[in-house]
């Protein structure tokens, strides 16, 4: 089972919007509504940002939104803030024997 493909890095200026893609196959991203996104500040505990493609957990800013089209899911951060600078990972349920697969990770830099 290969990891989901994410861009290695994405950057933007404060206040801008950025989008991180997460590309899989029909066995994972494209086949199920079970994509989630995680924010990881180095040295801290990863945080769930989006689940079931579009849902935000309580307490997560509405500047974060998720979507999916075909085999590609996306995380959009609007009104980019310095605190958004972190690593972001997607995850999907998969019909392969591994149950879940993660993305390769994207480093978001706020210019």
């Amino acid at each position: 089972q290969s990891a989901l493909t994410q861009p290695a890095s994405v950057s933007g200026s404060p206040g801008q919007s950025i989008t991180i893609s997460c590309t899989g196959t029909t066995s994972d991203v494209g086949g199920y509504h079970y994509v989630s996104w995680y924010q990881h500040h180095p040295g801290k505990v990863p945080k769930l940002m989006i689940y079931d493609v579009t849902n935000r957990p309580s307490g997560v800013s509405n500047r974060f939104s998720g979507s999916k089209s075909g085999n590609t899911a996306s995380l959009t951060i609007s009104g980019l803030q310095a605190e958004d600078e972190a690593d972001y990972y997607c995850s999907s349920f998969t019909s392969s024997g591994t149950f879940f697969v993660f993305g390769t990770g994207t480093k978001v830099t706020v210019l």
Binding site: A3, Y32, G97, T98, F99
Partner: protein
Amino acid sequence: EVQLVQSGAEVKKPGESLRISCKGSGYTFSDYWITWVRQTPGKGLEWMGRINPSDSYSEYSPSFQGHVTISADKSISTVYLQWSSLKASDTAMYYCVRRGYCSRGRCYNWFDYWGQGTLVTVSS
């Protein structure tokens, strides 16, 4: 407050055994499955396996089946990940995470709480 607290960093030699732990608090421990996730610079995040603490039923990724064992002691709200014979390639950060399962017709296929991670270093 929901917390998953993992045991501390370990340095081991190839061939040695190891058990690391993950203790849950702030919620009904038996009600939520726990998953172990491995993170390495080369392969990123990998789903290793999961356990239902209520009955200790476990499932494994084929990549880890037979090399690790996941167990639970619900009386002390703790899940374990253990190796009987470590390899250098087991050097990684290991996270325990909550959820990632389906139950009673509803699926919770996301990981809402993460432990702080346990760094395992295997070197001769």
